[in-house]
């Protein structure tokens, strides 16, 4: 199934201002065909990328989240993407613990000159999310009674 001809899913892209955002922009200027599911949020650097942004998006109803920054050694701030890589990998490895498929999240590096690479990344990621389908939703439980600890010891009378 291709992301191009089916109902859109919700995909959030966090893109570094200096590289991937430029790359995506060039891809647009060059009129490369791309799926339209992704909503892009621009970051000053992937070093600003708090893993909680991803979790907030996923719990809030996103079906997939992609983070893209400058290639290692190409960071505008020297090391932002190196820190990001550790944090984002921790998050990715942790998602299965929450019951979320780790493929719903990906991080990668695309430079400002790689318009064609951006096109293939966004297409491949969108296809992947479409294959996984809509993410499970955190619906409220109506029948959940409040239960305190079994035999909670209150102050003895």
């Amino acid at each position: 199934m291709s992301g191009m001809d089916v109902k859109e899913l919700r995909i959030i892209g966090f893109l570094c201002n200096w590289c991937s955002y430029g790359g995506a922009d060039s891809a647009g200027v060059a009129r490369y065909k791309q799926p339209t599911d992704m909503r892009i949020i621009r970051l000053p650097c992937t070093g600003r990328m708090d893993p909680l942004f991803v979790l907030k998006a996923l719990l809030g109803g996103a079906d997939g989240v992609l983070v893209s920054g400058c290639h290692p050694f190409d960071c505008h701030y020297t090391s932002g993407n190196f820190y990001a890589r550790r944090r984002l990998q921790v998050l990715k490895s942790y998602l299965p613990v929450l019951g979320i498929h780790e493929d719903r999240f990906e991080y990668t590096w695309v430079s400002a000159s790689e318009a064609a690479k951006w096109q293939s990344v966004v297409t491949a990621f969108t296809d992947r999310i479409h294959e996984l389908g809509p993410a499970p939703r955190l619906l409220e439980l109506e029948d959940m009674p409040l239960r305190f600890k079994e035999g909670m010891d209150i102050w003895p009378s």
């Binding site: 893993p51 909680l52 979790l55 907030k56 719990l59 809030g60 290692p72 050694f73 090391s79 190196f82 820190y83 890589r85 550790r86 944090r87 990998q89 921790v90 998050l91 490895s93 942790y94 299965p96 613990v97 929450l98 019951g99 979320i100 498929h101 990906e106 990668t108 690479k117 293939s120 990344v121 491949a124 499970p136 955190l138 619906l139 409220e140 439980l141 959940m144 409040l146 239960r147 305190f148 600890k149 079994e150 035999g151 909670m152 010891d153 209150i154 102050w155 003895p156």
Partner: protein, 319 residues
């Protein structure tokens, strides 16, 4: 376990040089203990040292930063002290650490699961057997391993890793009862959907009392916790399952590579939510990726506060 008298002597020696020494006293019944801030001889007489000394007192250290205090630590608690030092959240010269080797404490939660303990009158300990008498005249005999917290069953560090004064003999050979938390293995067997549903049910019971956060020795932001901050407004005050789940994920993410798995979060939770599971699973992720364990080496840098240009365990992905 080391003798109480020896411990008292050690505390007495430290007392003149510090504001207070943090230890344990008998709580409001025989299986409860409370923290004790020892300032003088009278306080010192209240000090206890037994299997009810479960609380990790390291949680109090950051609130007296800048003042010299003493603290009594078990092996596991000493990891928290190490971690606080590693992150420079406390100064080494401000703390006098009195270390005691420990052969395990008991878990109120596990005792509660066996019988309601709001009427406990007395506890007798004989070897591994605990006899708990309640006010209604009943006697409950328990094996202490059946009511030991999971962290004791998996304990690797019965001896303090850091101390200025050591009380008693170090424990020489020590076989933890089981290598890993049994329930974690059980959890790992679940499918993704089952895990999601598991957390949905567990988290929906959370009352957002923040006891888990407040009990945590490594949660040091106090009034600046992003769960309550309006600027930025990360979380609303609503009590829906999404906000509650997200709050736990904040805790887990902010403790990645820092959590010493002391279990205080779960012990403090009044709703019986297995929040330690979030952290032990995170601990495994960090261990697998960076071969790192929090609070073991005082001079190490926590893995998320550093990086390597070439990461040995992170694969570069091709697109």
């Amino acid at each position: 376990m080391a003798e109480l008298n020896e411990l008292r002597e050690a505390v007495a020696k430290v007392l003149p040089d510090v504001k207070h020494v943090i230890g344990w006293q008998r709580g409001y019944h025989a299986v409860r203990s409370s923290p004790l801030f020892i300032r003088n001889q009278e306080d010192l007489d209240k000090l206890i040292w037994d299997r009810t000394c479960y609380q990790n007192l390291a949680s109090y250290l950051t609130s007296t930063r800048g003042e010299r205090v003493g603290i009594i630590v078990k092996g596991c608690d000493s990891r928290s002290v190490n971690q606080l030092l590693q992150e420079q959240l406390i100064n080494r010269e401000d703390v006098v650490v009195i270390g005691v080797p420990c052969t395990g404490v008991i878990s109120l939660d596990k005792i509660r699961a066996k019988f309601p303990i709001n009427r406990v009158k007395d506890m007798q300990v004989e070897g591994d057997e605990l006899t708990i008498a309640t006010r209604d005249g009943e006697e409950h005999k328990l094996n202490r391993w059946d009511v030991a917290p999971d962290k004791c069953l998996a304990c690797k560090y019965p001896n303090p890793l850091i101390f200025d004064t050591h009380v008693g003999e170090p424990i020489e050979t020590w076989e933890p009862k089981q290598g890993l938390y049994a329930r974690d293995e059980e959890f790992d067997q679940k499918s993704l959907d089952e895990r999601f549903e598991f957390w949905r049910r567990e988290m929906s019971r959370c009352i957002r009392c923040y006891a888990c956060r407040n009990a945590c020795p490594m949660c040091v932001c106090r009034d600046h916790c992003i769960a309550e901050s309006r600027q930025p407004h990360y979380q609303s005050q609503e009590a829906d399952v999404r906000e509650k789940f997200f709050f736990q994920l904040i805790h887990a993410m902010h403790l990645a590579g820092r959590c010493t798995e002391c279990g205080e979060c779960e012990r403090a939770c009044p709703m019986d939510i297995p929040v330690l599971l979030f952290k032990t699973r995170m601990g495994k992720v960090v261990k697998d990726l960076f071969d790192y364990e929090a609070g073991v080496d005082q001079t190490a840098v926590p893995p998320l506060l550093t990086f390597q240009a070439e990461e040995s365990n992170i694969e570069e992905k091709e697109w």
